[in-house]
């Protein structure tokens, strides 16, 4: 008896019971419906999001009556007119877009060697170290990390103290555009590395050996072999970084100190400071539109990169 129990362990028995239960609840004649059923939670979630978008679209067409603080009953395009004509919103939009592009370029430049080293190093200890160093910031959270930078970069912060030791007077390192971009790059780096690493893993190391035996030094091997083959990873990582930084809220709010608002901060202000739901909704929809167009243009120019699945991947 003992013997047979060892041959048929408890976990198997549990699975048997579960399978029998599943068969009773979901007879095999329903099998074809199973994949659709599993799709259901995702469809519901996206569906709710679409409902929300419709609600926002509705709000965006109503203006705020400043005497009653009620939304107007009739539809008007006044909010769109304000959003597109007022200089303040143009400045915020320009700051966000330019910032997102700069952050993406800088992040990809930093992430590429990191991902390459992580993929190619023969030392598993170094690979593990790089991976842990990558994941550690994830556990800390964006807001806490931004506060960390406040401490490090503040007027009495570590950096200024270190500069003071070599005779440099304290500098204002915070609450300006570079500080926001710096914070965003630091925040985006792990995402970019994690998107790039699989693409680099897919490039056989033998191709680099081949290039070198065919007469290419490392610069030309990189230029003619590694870079073109890493393009799907660069496009995928770039798309993720550009959308995340375009819509980021916490870093511009904290490291920008209110003077470096991105679009998300302007939306927040409309909803929660001036309580102008209409204008906030308008700005939100415009952000969705700009982001979608940006991603669409990249898709058309470069393909979807690693975000494209299956045969489409080139």
């Amino acid at each position: 008896m003992r013997h047979s129990r060892a041959a048929y362990p408890l976990t198997w028995r549990v699975m048997d019971v579960l399978e029998r239960l599943a068969a009773a609840v979901w007879p095999s004649s329903f099998q074809r419906g199973l994949p659709y059923l599993m799709l259901l939670p995702a469809v519901v979630l996206v569906g709710l999001l679409v409902l929300g978008l419709i609600q926002i679209g509705d709000s965006s067409l109503r203006t705020l009556d400043t005497s009653t603080f009620m939304m107007s009953e009739n539809y008007t395009l006044a909010n769109y007119q304000r959003a597109l004509s007022e200089k303040f919103f143009a400045t915020v939009a320009g700051r966000s877009l330019v910032g997102a592009v700069i952050v993406t370029v800088v992040t990809l430049i930093f992430a590429f060697p990191y991902a390459y080293l992580m993929v190619r190093t023969p030392s598993s200890a170094l690979r593990k170290f790089l991976l842990v160093a990558l994941f550690l910031p994830f556990f800390i959270g964006q807001v806490v990390r931004a506060y960390g930078w406040l401490i490090i970069l503040g007027n009495q912060g570590m950096v200024n103290e270190a500069l003071g030791l070599v005779g440099v007077p304290p500098m204002r390192l915070l609450y300006n555009y570079p500080a926001v971009l710096f914070g965003l790059v630091q925040y985006m780096l792990p995402f970019a590395v994690l998107m790039l690493a699989p693409a680099l893993t897919a490039i056989p190391a033998e191709l680099e050996s081949a290039a070198s035996s065919l007469g290419a030094g490392w610069v030309r091997t990189f230029r003619h072999v590694v870079l073109p083959l890493a393009r799907p990873g660069l496009v995928g990582a770039g798309l993720v970084v550009v959308t995340l930084s375009l819509t980021d809220f916490a870093i511009p709010a904290i490291l920008g100190g209110g003077s470096q608002d991105f679009i998300a901060n302007a939306i927040y202000d409309q909803f929660f400071r001036t309580s102008d739901q209409g204008l906030g909704a308008t700005l939100s929809l415009l952000l969705v539109a700009v982001g979608s167009i940006l991603v669409g243009v990249v898709f058309m120019l470069f393909g979807a990169g690693t975000l494209a699945m299956g045969d489409e991947r080139k």
């Binding site: 033998e206 081949a210 290039a211 065919l214 290419a216 072999v225 083959l229």
Partner: protein, 376 residues
């Protein structure tokens, strides 16, 4: 051989010279004190099982790994300090390593561009080499649009187009099915003869080594076991490892009971068998433990002793297994007189269709000159 190669060296006709080369990874000796000279224009195959150090040796010649001891000379020049892209070596890789983002022609043009050849001559040269590998007109195809054999040919053209001093083949045929592999072996041979390029091929396929090479080096445990022409390595293996690795060989263990000149008598289980001292093997003395090696195809099989007239050694046995392989029968025969040893016998007899089934009593016979006796 020794004298010939030094004469050639003086004439500058040695393409590759490997001197006491060793490679240590951690505490593993991947290659131990390997030395050989390869004359220009020859086709050398380094043959060995996996882990024998053959690929490590090739990678050192290519420049991907640096020897921990010894030196490699290419055209008389030491190359340890020369990086791979500065060596004039064409290499066909195990997985071909074709660039998937380029067409066949772009792949072949790559080394010419990297070596800054005159752009006006590149197109014509690429076409010429694609024709050499019988891929004329396929230049515009992407790599994934080509069959396995065609990809092989692109890889060969790419490795040869810049007219390297040396062509290295790192088991590029290992992944192909048998028919295609045999076709490509002959193709390698044809192209090598046509261009006269010095070639070093690495493989674990003994048939390939015999078919394509002018010279064979057999490696095991990081050491060179024998360097010889294919026929010589097959007919006169230097030791039991070589005899076992190339071809199918039966070993009969015993001890030397008498020795005179090249003939030797081996005593095994009370039987005395006549054989010859392995020509390139370690010297034998009276009474030393030894092993007699007989090739499976050099043993005749028959039901009656009369059919084996003229053979010097005849033993009785019983068939334990018989396998039909098409062009030949393979028998496994238990021989009680040799302590129940099981001998494998190839019988190529397309005319009589004679077959023995399991359990049948048979007689086996071979000539004394076909039993090579090695020191154990």
């Amino acid at each position: 051989m020794g004298i010939v190669s030094t004469d050639l060296h003086k004439a500058g006709a040695i393409a590759v010279s490997v001197k006491d080369v060793g490679m240590v990874f951690g505490n593993v000796h991947a290659v131990r004190s390997a030395s050989f000279d390869l004359p220009k224009g020859k086709f050398l195959t380094i043959l060995g099982p996996s882990g024998s150090g053959k690929t490590t040796l090739l990678r050192m010649i290519a420049g991907f790994d640096k020897p921990t001891s010894g030196e490699i000379f290419i055209n008389g020049q030491p190359v340890s300090a020369v990086p791979p892209h500065k060596r004039a070596i064409g290499m066909v890789f195990q997985k071909l390593a074709l660039f998937p983002h380029m067409t066949a022609a772009e792949n072949v043009a790559f080394p010419l561009k990297m070596r800054r050849h005159d752009a006006r001559t590149i197109g014509e040269k690429v076409e010429r080499y694609l024709e050499l590998v019988r891929l004329g007109g396929y230049g515009g195809r992407r790599i994934n649009e080509l069959s396995g054999g065609q990809q092989q040919r692109v890889a060969i053209a790419r490795a040869l187009v810049f007219e390297p001093d040396l062509l290295l083949l790192d088991e590029p045929l290992a992944a192909l099915d048998r028919k295609l592999r045999e076709e490509m072996q002959l193709e390698f041979r044809r192209i090598q003869r046509e261009l006269g390029v010095t070639t070093i091929n690495v493989t674990h396929d003994q048939r390939e080594a015999l078919v394509v090479s002018d010279e064979v080096i057999v490696m095991d445990g990081g050491e060179i076991q024998q360097k010889a022409q294919p026929v010589h390595a097959y007919r006169s293996p230097a030791n039991a490892f070589v005899a076992n690795f190339i071809g199918v060989t039966n070993f009969i263990d015993g001890k030397v009971s008498a020795i005179s000149g090249s003939t030797v008598s081996v005593e095994s289980n009370g039987q005395v068998l006549a054989g010859v001292v392995a020509a390139d093997g370690a010297p034998l003395v009276d009474g030393s433990a030894c092993s007699g090696a007989v090739r499976a195809e050099q043993i005749r099989i028959a039901s009656a002793r009369t059919a084996l007239e003229g053979l010097e050694t005849i033993v009785e046995g019983q068939v334990t297994d018989s396998i039909f392989e098409g062009e030949r029968m393979v028998y496994e025969v238990t021989v009680p007189a040799l302590g129940g040893a099981i001998l494998r016998v190839f019988d190529h007899d397309p005319v009589s269709h004679l077959q023995f089934g399991p359990g049948e009593n048979v007689r086996l016979g071979w000539n004394a000159k076909d039993m090579h006796v090695f020191k154990k």
